[in-house]
Amino acid sequence: MADLRGSANSDRGQILLIAAFTLAVIFVALALVINSAIFTQNMASRGEVVGSSDALLYQQQVEQSVGEAIRYANEDGSLTIQGSISDIGEAGGRQQIRDGRLINVSLASSPTIEKRIAFESSGDPFLSQNGDENWQLATDVEGTRNFQIEANVLASSSADAFTIQANGSGTAGDIWSLSIHDDGTDYVLEVDPGPDGPSSMECKVSSGSPLEVDVMRGTANGHHCPALTRDVGTGEQMWWATGVTASDYEIWMKNGDQIEGDFSMVVDGTHNSTNLQLGSTVGDPYHTDAIYSVDVEYLYLTPNVEYEAEIEVAPGETPS
């Protein structure tokens, strides 16, 4: 057997020494691998890049602000939006720069000007300026925005109820219609969406206060009216003019003597100048220029995110 009693030979265990060094190197490599694994766990728990979803949130706010500016410019008849958009851009920019984000909102091109058709009397029926109760408001309409009706007095039966129609040009019977009457306890709104849509529906709102209908948003006195939006059961669309198959339509009012109140709408078609007077004068329905939509240049910039786009703001349109 090997001589285990100590001798002066001092080079025992060389292999063990080499093995120890090699294992030490292996442990160091293992430590690096574990370090990478811990870093991977940390990276996995990080969220999205800072500011990436804020770009879209802020875009929505800008769209809303610009929409309000358009509504205001139309109501006071000034039709100037440049100043409001600069203000929106400046105010928002100052707020966001504190968080290290650069925002720029500016007008991309001149606003699209179309026609506003309205009637403000609060106590007169919806008759044309010639006194007709069945009359045409506009032709060649492709889009209608911001259509609101306020009524104090209505017919009591559906047979002679006031009706607003979108008549598809070309085919007879290609009509979307909304009829409103008061059956004593409730206001009844009946919608027939036309040949390309589901069957007609109605919704009721209790009478007692004047009726305010926002046709594009689908509300009556603030309550959601499924007949103007979507059939609750089938989910089919009932929005303004959805069932009309033609690409453009005419807007007609029938039994205009059976309603008293106000209305207002913005259309991108040709107004009927026989039935409407130019400019608002108390007593007759009128037409006037109005901003239909605006193209806005939107920029959102942070060190990691850049989003530059042109967005179209068109308030009061139906979702389609």
């Binding site: 292999i15 090699t22 990478s36 870093f39 879209l56 850049e306 530059e308 786009a309």
Partner: protein
């Protein structure tokens, strides 16, 4: 009397060779273990990098869908320039309808693939190496833009 038919050389040789074999086996097992773990960690790290990058690409696609006319959309993020000591390459390709992100490390050769869901199912074939990677979509006016990746 206890040292008949013995040889000092033989006993040394036997002891040393047994020790060498045992220690050698231990080192081999140790380094194989470390290599395996390194490969696992590389795969996991590239999976995480890929998922962050895929979500950036999808965010850029969301920008494209929210705008009426997109001019430029870009999201940049700094990723580690190597995974556990090995550099890696990221490739974004169309693969006939299903956009995919492939990450390949150089040494050892590990590949990780992920699906990316964009609205048009069209991406610009592009590649980037590890480091600061951006996902970008440049508007062309009429056509929907195709996201791509690049080194910032």
């Amino acid at each position: 009397m206890t040292d008949r038919a013995t040889s000092t050389t033989l006993s040394y040789v036997l002891t040393l060779s047994i020790a060498t074999v045992l220690v050698g086996g231990l080192i081999l097992a140790g380094s194989t273990f470390v290599e395996d773990q390194r490969e696992n960690v590389i795969r996991q790290e590239m999976q995480v990098v890929g998922e962050h990058l895929a979500s950036n690409i999808e965010q850029v696609d969301r920008y494209n869908r929210s705008a009426d006319r997109l001019e430029e959309a870009r999201v940049s993020q700094t990723f580690p320039s190597d995974v556990t000591g090995s550099s890696y390459l990221v490739e974004l390709e169309d693969d006939g309808g299903q956009p995919q992100l492939h990450l390949t490390s150089s040494q050892p050769r590990v590949t990780v693939s992920l699906n990316v869901s964009v609205s048009e199912d069209n991406v610009e074939g592009s590649e980037a190496s590890g480091g600061r990677i951006l996902a970008r979509c440049t508007g062309t006016g009429t056509d929907p833009c195709e996201p791509e990746i690049d080194n910032a």
